[in-house]
Symmetry: C2
Subunit: 206 residues, 2 copies
């Protein structure tokens, strides 16, 4: 008898969870049917029903990463301007275990993406969307007089904020003891503080 639809759905979730575990531990470089099968304690043959090719497995992994990133819990965004930017960037940083796993998998995906024209274009588009999502809050910060008179254009501020945040992600992933939550947060606050009008590098929070 074929499994009931509910069973198939449950099994599909188990497969996704196992793919995620393998990614979090070994990255895309270590993502194989064998590794996923071992994480689930099933045969690779069983997994071939889900992923007939390595490419299908990678496509599922990238989908999963995209979905889990979109659906991650986020902080409330009560304000506008630099305070909103701060909240959005805190939602990216690897401050807890789930955020750390997600970031670790994103960083891992860059090797894959840089070697594939289509995936590289996807990643470039993802960066454009991220900058575009920050941009209006820098526009608001300018309008509210939060930024220094010589502040760069909102597009460039958004690119700089993404640069700072992702570069901090990478350093923190390699050295979590050097970059615990409070250090990452203080660095973000100093970065944003340095953009503030007339304060130089304030070191304060938004």
């Amino acid at each position: 008898m074929p499994p009931a639809p509910g069973d198939r759905e449950a099994r599909r979730k188990d497969v996704s969870e196992a793919v995620w575990q393998v990614l979090a531990e070994k990255g895309f470089g270590g993502l194989t049917l064998r590794a996923v099968a071992a994480a689930m304690n099933v045969s690779t043959g069983m997994l071939m029903h889900y992923f007939p090719t390595k490419r299908a497995l990678i496509a599922h992994a990238l989908d999963l990463l995209e979905t889990r990133t979109a659906e991650r819990p986020r902080r409330a965004r009560p304000a506008e301007g630099l305070a909103t930017v701060r909240t959005m960037l805190l939602d990216i940083l690897p401050l807890g275990p789930d955020d750390t796993a997600r970031n670790r998998i994103w960083v891992s995906s860059w090797d894959l993406a840089l070697a594939d024209r289509g995936l590289a274009a996807d990643q470039a588009a993802r960066y454009t969307r991220l900058r575009d999502s920050l941009r209006p809050h820098f526009v608001a910060a300018l309008a509210r007089g939060e930024l220094g008179a010589g502040a760069a254009a909102p597009d460039q501020l958004a690119a700089s904020a993404v640069a700072f945040t992702h570069g901090l992600v990478v350093q923190a992933l390699f050295d979590p003891a050097r970059f615990p939550e409070d250090v990452q947060t203080a660095m973000l606050d100093d970065f944003l503080g340095s953009l503030r009008a007339g304060e130089g590098s304030s070191g304060g929070s938004c």
Copy 2:
């Protein structure tokens, strides 16, 4: 007759060049004996003399990356303080083809390094050295009064500068048209300008 020592040395250089080409194009995820052999138009059997295992190939690739990074041409460092920091960070950014290839290979190596305890420790130590090399110039910048009164400690400024730079590297690798040399340089100058004493975000160069 065995090849003369000079021939062996020349062949070794050819092998390294082929490894570099494969890395620049496909990253560590695409680094295989087969790919290197194809780049050299030789048999994989011939390459087995150099790299009996995949691990030996990866070790050579990492050595090559380390060596080529250490030996890359660098800008003169005429001044101290923030001007020196600027020069050091310009020497990291992917402003030309060689710098782009090297950065692309470094970013690719992160997937490998995050999955291997020893390589991750090497990368964490590399980040520590990079921050330590920047630190004295932030100390000098503070002593020279170049930084705002509320400036963060030199350790944290160094970590932020590395974060900003590496995050810019990644964005530029994925979208070189959006981040040509002048945009990267302007972003770096704005970043450093925002740290300057009493200017807020000055947008000027050091």
